[in-house]
């Protein structure tokens, strides 16, 4: 289970540890609005695509719209 983090922690992880931001919503929603620098891997495809598209040596931060 991933650890929950807040906005300031997100910023710190990106700035200091090169964390990778991943929006797990469908592509349409990602296209409408996303955090700059994030990649889109919908939740259903995460297990399949993560190891191919993400760097294992860097932290990964997943997010969606809000508290869901």
């Amino acid at each position: 289970m991933p650890a929950s983090i807040d906005r300031d922690q997100v910023r710190r992880l990106i700035a200091e540890e090169g964390a990778q931001l991943v929006e797990v919503l469908p592509a349409k929603e990602f296209g409408e609005e996303h955090i700059v620098g994030a990649v889109n891997i919908p939740l259903k495809e995460l297990d399949q695509r993560a190891s191919r598209e993400l760097d294992r040596d860097r932290p990964v931060i997943v997010y969606c719209n809000d508290y869901q």
Binding site: P2, A3, S4, E32, E33, A50, V60, V62
Partner: protein
């Protein structure tokens, strides 16, 4: 997922955008309140003397000053009239408390409409928890 360090940004992209942090997409306005807000607007504290603030604000070429606490939460505003007054009141006595504010994510177009409807010359931009981002002046939008 098989990754060692995975985190969940639970508050999500709505939280990010509402604080004026960089976000993009077809639904994101090209220019937002956060983009145009003047971050150099003068600030002061409740306990400051009005005379001291007046001198500093005029010297910086402004005619308004935002009253904040130690966490940059907006408490009030000193407008032209308050700053023009020659009394030796405190900031707390002279300020207008609880000024109207908008969030950084509001589009510049919608913001200008709101300013025109209310016949304002400027509007304060704050985060959802009330912290000062800056001041948008009508002239910067028109």
């Amino acid at each position: 997922m098989g990754f060692r360090r995975v985190y969940d940004y639970v508050a999500g992209k709505k939280d990010w955008g509402s604080y004026g942090l960089p976000h993009a997409g077809t639904n994101v306005p090209a220019r937002t309140a956060g983009d145009v807000a003047r971050r150099d607007v003068p600030t002061c504290s409740l306990g400051d003397r009005l005379a001291d603030v007046r001198e500093r604000v005029r010297g910086a070429g402004w005619d308004t000053c935002i009253v904040i606490n130690e966490r940059r939460v907006v408490l009030g505003r000193l407008g032209r009239k308050a700053l023009a007054s020659e009394t030796d009141a405190s900031v707390e006595e002279a300020m207008t408390p609880g000024p109207s504010t908008v969030r950084p994510s509001i589009g510049a177009h919608a913001l200008l409409e709101r300013i025109r409807e209310r016949k304002l010359t400027s509007l304060l931009v704050t985060t959802p928890d009330g912290r000062l981002v800056g001041l948008v002046r009508r002239g910067d939008l028109e």
